[in-house]
Symmetry: C2
Subunit: 301 residues, 2 copies
């Protein structure tokens, strides 16, 4: 059994982000800003979710990979964040930085992948920007999503005692999964509309980095039965907790609802694993031995 908590666990990326956010005006209390999977702003009677995510050469993909799959991934990454808040996707805006040794054929293939994902998940491309840069390919994708105030699920709603669930299997996404994954939009929407989740987020940096973020947002700790963590074939527990790029949903559910959740999930998503891996706690100490996930800025301090 591994137990961990939010208070003491921040990676270098989170520390830098906190420092930067003190320098800028943030949205009013009550609106969601930095720290959740998406920002949420009032739009008519509902909420408009806004999320920006990115892919960079050498970090999220390499040049020998199929550009159309990189395009698929670039759009699906922020869609995975919309999924975690129960949102329905709307528009995408795409900004790309192109080095001198990359020609228009790369971008044509890349946009084919964007188009494939956009058609599958009901997204329209409403704008964008392109620029040269000296070296390396980088792309930022912003997506909008719609959700009612009643349906939206935040990271911050978990209570001590809530059960922790994950969809699918974790670890080993560096193989092919990270270029082919299906964002859990249907599942996230279903969880939100049936009010099963007290808190939810998507797993992009690995359970080891992301679960402490959910716990911190909810002012809780957590206990995990490490042997229960569902693993992709060939992965050990450490890999399942640390690899990142799972794009699965992590959520908490009141124990009262857990039995019904399990039963109805099997009806709704018979091919998708749903696993209870632990529970939220009062205690907020992180034990030594808790593995981190992916940390973009671990060497910058």
């Amino acid at each position: 059994m591994l137990a961990g908590g939010g208070a003491v666990r921040k990676n270098a990326e989170d520390v830098l982000l906190e420092r930067l956010l003190k320098l800028v005006p943030l949205p009013e209390k009550g609106l969601l800003g930095p720290g959740d999977d998406c920002a949420a702003i009032p739009c008519g009677g509902d909420l408009l979710l806004l999320k920006t995510d990115c892919v960079a050469e050498g970090v999220h993909f390499t040049r020998d990979q199929d550009p159309s799959k990189v395009g698929w991934k670039a759009l699906c990454r922020p869609l995975s964040d919309l999924a975690a808040m129960g949102g329905v996707p709307g528009e995408a805006l795409i900004t790309f930085f192109s080095p001198p040794d990359i020609g228009s054929e790369f971008w044509v293939a890349f946009y084919r992948g964007i188009g494939r994902a956009a058609r599958k998940f009901g997204v329209t491309v409403a704008g964008g920007e392109m620029s040269r840069q000296p070296a390396g390919i980088a792309v930022s994708v912003m997506v909008t999503g719609r959700v009612s105030r009643r349906d939206m699920v935040k990271r911050s709603g978990a209570s001590s005692g809530d059960f922790i669930f994950v969809t699918g299997r974790l670890g080993g996404a560096g193989g092919r999964h990270h270029l082919n994954f299906i964002p859990r939009l249907k599942e996230g929407r279903w969880i939100a509309m049936h009010r099963y989740a007290t808190a939810m987020m998507d797993l992009s940096d690995g359970l080891g980095a992301d679960l402490p973020r959910l716990a911190r947002a909810s002012a809780c700790g957590f206990e995990i039965d490490k042997d229960s963590v569902p693993r992709r074939r060939g992965c050990d527990v450490r890999s399942a907790l640390s690899d990142g790029e799972d794009y699965e949903l992590l959520f908490t559910c009141s124990p009262k609802k857990a039995e019904r959740l399990n039963a109805e999930w099997k009806q709704a998503f018979p091919k998708t694993l749903l696993t209870r891996i632990g529970r939220m706690t009062h205690a907020r100490n992180l034990p030594s031995g808790w593995p981190g996930g992916w940390d973009h800025f671990s060497d910058s301090h």
Copy 2:
């Protein structure tokens, strides 16, 4: 007198963009998508404007420049696009790509500049993302803005005979202006709410590249009295048409309203030049000798 038209004038960036946009689903007719300064989506009874823009090292700034000024510029660039549609700024989402040789001090200074601009122009930072990349600093900034359907000004509304106006002075922005400019939010809002503009856009790639875009969107041509183009000190006409990064407003106005526009402008903005530089025409031929503006992709085809 220089005359030009939209039909024949597309730079390499526009050609690539057109090719890419055929590969992806676009917003329904009636909603604004790629091609105008901002996308516009319904939000309650009004419209929400969405705009993404970017700065890249070696293209929009160099490493010896003050990072806080680069931050100012990064936020003010998309605000200039909001200005051109009559929008009131709302939220910003910031994605940055950081090379290994750049530490957190750069980003702290950069965010100070973002914060300074955000406070001045009423923007809150609602989210973002950070990633490593192998080389070079790049930042994408997405902003939202609000505007009523009645007030919004598009690029496509100009008619033959409309007078062409620009704010401020053009050319030579590479000196200091490009890091210090004030986006014309007040002026753009004033023009929109007083219904002076039939079409409007902001000048970021230079009049030589941007006026043909407005003309093409409006299915018109144009004539310019080149000697009337207001120039920054030390700039010749070619420089005023080609340098780019002016961040001034370019708009068209019905001749009937032009006299009142001039009189009321002097009352509202006594310190800001407003100059009539030509008129929209039926003819859509671009003469040889029409200078292009900045073209990010001129060497990629």
